[in-house]
């Protein structure tokens, strides 16, 4: 069934591979753009992102509030819409603290790296096809390059430096722990994210965002590539440090993670970068899997594709992007935070093997379809049998039994347990017994005397009364 869907998408692939010679592999035509157009587009993108973040913060607070049966922000402006604007203004007017132990230069640089990298992604996201503005026909996209998606992943990776350096340069314990956790988390989920995109590139035959959108004329990639879509959606939540994967800033454990020591605009930049990154990954998943700016099916068929031209596509793009932003909020309102080991083993033992296996399946099916004469049905059946055999074997392989030495090492004899090892109170390990508290003996010794005194006290009270 998957193969049938894929084959129906092939005409789109063929028609889209006819591209301009000057910028090979890119569908959108930027030949009329000049420096002013670039500058205007860049500023519009900036304003768009800032407004979207202001809206997204309000939206998130409002939706989570409704999910928890609270009204949410409702004082500033209609429906509390100006709440995030007020918060931003407040942050701007707060004192900019640089803690004593901080590495001054990196401490200042880190939030700027975060927000700088977050702002770059939208340079290659297509909002729509070409439109005519004041006589200039230009695509609703700042630019597009043959390696656009690689560029997106690269800016996201460099953005991690902001988190790492911010946590390290604070010279404080919680931010450092948060930064190290965050690095391990982001790089683990980045792999699953990168691998899930490979199957899109195989079908689209390009990494240019405008061409990937062009190849989704008949069929949006999330249907034939559903497992890759699911893996991407999970890893995008991990990549942006959102609940249930917000371990770098788990409030109960690490105060605020890497941004604990930040205040004023530097804190605002980390906050802004986090929300812009949410918008970024939502826009990327829309572009790569959800047809980008293309209208959904019943609407796209109206009047010979009228709604896929002009300014209409901006509406579809924004609607799909907000759908994913809603998903972020919905997940946050529904799921609990994972434990760190569960989180890491989910990334390495589930997501990465699953996305690798999916890449192999897509490559084999596509290869057999394109390069051989073998009937596709036989290939699919063979592939299904192979997958079943591999899964069956993986069940047969015995689990590694814990070595007896390892178990013995952990169980320390009860007598050796020191509840104040190193000066701090520590809980007993499994199997250890908490030694009787010295205080208990004192309390027991003092109890009869105390009780007697209490009795006399109450008697005097009575006598007085």
């Amino acid at each position: 069934m998957i193969a049938a869907m894929v084959s129906s998408a092939v005409p789109g692939v063929v028609s889209a591979s006819v591209a301009g010679a000057a910028n090979p592999g890119v569908t959108a035509d930027f030949s009329q753009d000049n420096g002013w157009v670039w500058l205007i587009k860049a500023v519009v993108i900036l304003v768009f992102l800032l407004l979207t973040v202001l809206m997204a913060i309000w939206f998130e607070r409002k939706v989570v509030a409704r999910m928890q049966m609270r009204p949410g922000p409702n004082v500033h402006g209609p429906f509390g819409l100006l709440q995030s604007l007020a918060d931003a203004m407040k942050l701007l007017l707060k004192e900019d603290i640089t803690v004593k132990a901080a590495d001054k230069f990196l401490y200042m640089l880190a939030p700027m790296i975060s927000v700088f990298c977050a702002l770059l992604t939208f340079a290659v996201i297509p909002f729509g096809p070409s439109v005519s503005i004041f006589g200039i026909v230009t695509p609703l996209q700042l630019t597009d390059v043959p390696v656009a998606v690689l560029y997106i992943l690269a800016t996201a990776s460099v953005g991690v430096y902001g988190i790492v350096l911010g946590g390290w340069s604070s010279g404080s314990t919680y931010p450092l722990l948060g930064a190290v956790r965050s690095t391990a988390q982001v790089i683990s989920y980045e792999l699953a994210m990168g691998l899930s995109l490979v199957s899109v590139f195989i079908l689209a035959g390009s990494m240019s965002t405008s061409q990937i959108v062009a190849t989704q004329q008949q069929l949006w990639w999330f249907l034939p590539l559903f497992p890759a879509f699911i893996i991407y959606v999970i890893s995008m939540i991990g990549e942006t440090n959102r609940l249930p994967f917000d371990l770098p800033e788990a409030e109960g454990e690490l105060v605020s993670g890497f941004m604990t020591e930040y205040s004023s605009m530097k804190f605002a930049w980390f906050f802004l970068a986090e929300y812009i990154n949410m918008v970024n990954v939502s826009a990327v998943v829309t572009t790569l899997f959800f047809g980008g700016w293309r209208a959904p099916w019943p609407i796209s068929a109206i009047n010979d594709g009228m709604f896929n031209t002009g300014w209409w596509p901006v509406l579809w793009f924004l609607a799909k992007m907000w759908l994913f932003l809603f998903l972020f909020v919905w997940v946050r309102g529904t799921l609990l935070r994972l434990r760190y080991d569960q989180f890491m083993s989910f990334g390495w033992k589930v997501l990465i093997p699953a996305s690798l296996g999916w890449v192999v399946c897509v490559a084999v099916v596509q290869g057999v379809r394109q390069f051989t004469e073998v009937d596709l049905r036989t290939v699919l059946i063979a592939l299904a049998v192979a997958v079943l055999v591999v899964v069956g074997i993986s069940f047969l392989v015995p689990e590694r039994k814990p070595e007896p030495g390892a178990a013995g090492k952990k169980a320390i004899p009860p007598g050796e347990f020191d509840p104040f090892a190193g000066g701090y109170p520590v809980p007993p390990m499994p199997g250890q017994q908490l030694p009787p508290s010295p205080r208990r003996a004192r309390v027991a010794a003092a109890a009869p005397a105390g009780a007697a005194r209490q009795v006399t006290d109450s008697q005097t009270e009575v006598e007085r009364g």
Binding site: A22, N23, V26, F30, W38, A42, V43, L46, L91, L92, L93, E95, D96, I97, T98, V99, K100, P111, M112, V115, F116, L119, L120, A123, L142, T143, D144, V145, S170, G171, S172, T173, Y174, L176, V180, A184, L191, V198, S199, F201, I202, G205, V255, T260, S264, M265, W269, Y340, D341, M344, S345, W348, K349, P353, V359, A363, V364, Q370, F371, R400
Partner: protein, 120 residues
């Protein structure tokens, strides 16, 4: 047709101005009142623990994750050009890439079985 990478530089310029401008603005506008406790590291109100020189020591697990990440990241980087040129590289590319994936999977399984992905 101009170079399609130039607009990215324009975007970087705009983003850089904003990133610098915000921090500079708050440094100028915001109040500055000295308070010794305010400049201490935050540790829930107790005396901050003295910080080890050079950031202290970290569990070896993080380094293992970093090394495994590099291997897989290189793998992903090799997969991308092949995926884009899937049709042109034809059967040769497919077979070569499957062999490459297999060679990466063997050490992955080895590390898994040796407990490289166990977090306690």
């Amino acid at each position: 047709m101009t170079n399609p990478y130039v607009p990215i530089l324009v975007m970087m310029g705009v983003a850089g101005v904003m990133a610098l401008g915000g921090v500079a603005a708050s440094a100028i506008i915001g109040p500055k009142r000295y308070n010794r406790a305010k400049l201490e590291a935050y540790e829930c109100g107790i005396q901050p623990t003295p910080h080890a020189v050079g950031g202290g020591r970290f569990p070896i697990k993080y380094y293992l994750v970093a090394m495994t990440f590099i291997i897989f990241d290189i793998e992903v980087v090799f997969l991308y050009p092949w995926a884009v040129n899937f049709t042109e590289l034809a059967m040769f590319g497919l077979v070569a890439m499957m062999g490459f994936l297999f060679l990466i999977t063997v050490p992955f399984v080895y590390e898994w079985r040796r407990g490289g992905f166990e977090w306690e």
